[in-house]
Amino acid sequence: MQVEGYKPLIVAFCCNWCSYAGADLAGNNRLAYPADVKIIRVPCSCRVNPMFVLRAFQRGADGVILCGCHPGDCHYTSGNFYTRRRMAMLFSMLDYLGIERERTRVEWVSAAEGAKFAATMNDFAQTVAKLGENKRLEDLRCKQ
């Protein structure tokens, strides 16, 4: 059910050391990705508490994506290993509660992968656009 002109709001948590630099690279290379992707820089992908993800949905996000260094390349050695387990558990739980599983994603993007960053964001935005607005984890009081 795609509404004409509907653009999903995407929140992307990007780790400072890899994915945020990957986003910079995408920008430097003038690779286009949707302007509705709001990047939030975090020191490490494991800084993202499950509450952040829920909060983003509450405040109107239609999709939430976490980007971090590839497993094994974490600036802090092991942060993204924890992210991997936590988000697997959280996403599985969201799915169990009936929330569309395509609205959440984790992707590993290194500082050298500007093209991957742009491609990931384009793809994710398209996927979320097909789902339409986030209704199942919305908070009416936060609607604009």
């Binding site: 499950p50 509450m51 829920l54 949905f57 509450q58 497993p71 092991s78 290993f81 924890y82 991997r84 387990r85 936590r86 988000m87 697997a88 558990m89 959280l90 996403f91 599985s92 739980m93 969201l94 799915d95 169990y96 509660l97 009936g98 929330i99 569309e100 599983r101 395509e102 959440t104 994603r105 984790v106 992707e107 793809d123 994710f124 996927t127 199942r136 984890l137 919305e138 908070d139 009416l140 009081r141």
Partner: protein, 296 residues
Amino acid sequence: MQTVTRDALIDRAVSLLSDGTVDTVLGWRKGLFDYDVTPSTFKTVEDLRENLQWDDHCGANFSKYLIAQTKKTESKVLVFLKPCDTYSFNQLLTEHRFDREKAYAIGIPCDGMVDAEGNMLERCVNCKSKKHVAYDELIGEDGEVLESGRFDEVKWLESLTADERFKFWQDQLSKCIRCNACRDVCPACTCEKCVFDNPKSGIENKAPASSFEEQNFHIIRAFHVAGRCTDCGECSRVCPQHIPLHLLNRKHISDINKFYGEYQAGAEVGQRAPLVNHADGDVEPYEIFDGGDVNA
């Protein structure tokens, strides 16, 4: 009916209290009605003889009470533990929540507990273990870890469509009055300051004002005990709204078993919980759903 008698418990507690081994006994206190049992401390022999209750209404798990009680005494605290309670006891020791030296644990067999209406508790119908994993002494016979159908309902829910699951949980979670009983009773919820008490968070103790708040509370509560929840069943037992909270916790437990290998929290002291651990080649969050990569 419980195989071990009330008198057996009282006799043992009285002798340990009288010879000074312990100065406090944690036990179930009689109320006005049979089902009206309160977890309580007993300090005197008379009080014990008169007011200790032991029957099918003694579902309360005392492990968590040890945190506060062991801090209040220089001596030891006697605690009665049913088999499922011993898992919480071990989990709390793993997390260094109380001093083992200050607890005197008596394991007692359990034949299943009932709720106020006399129906057997869900956790007892699907009892996972009659074996005590921790005790200083045992009264009666020890049992075995059981094969139970405790994940059957989780599997049933997983087999529904996302819409059906959403409806199911909306119906359940919208009953929540945020009394916080589930959190307060949980032996895994032992933070001194809980996220749900933070007045700046916008989600502090209050009745949910929107469906988001209900979901948020339950997702986060379940997540915070993921990997540490022993499936003691206390949360579902105390919920005044009869919300099947065990279905949330067991989802995490069954996911952990599936993704990271069989794990029973509290089975041994010193285990490393799955969410504070990692391994090479762990499943990726986009590989978790049957049918493989949902993002493909």
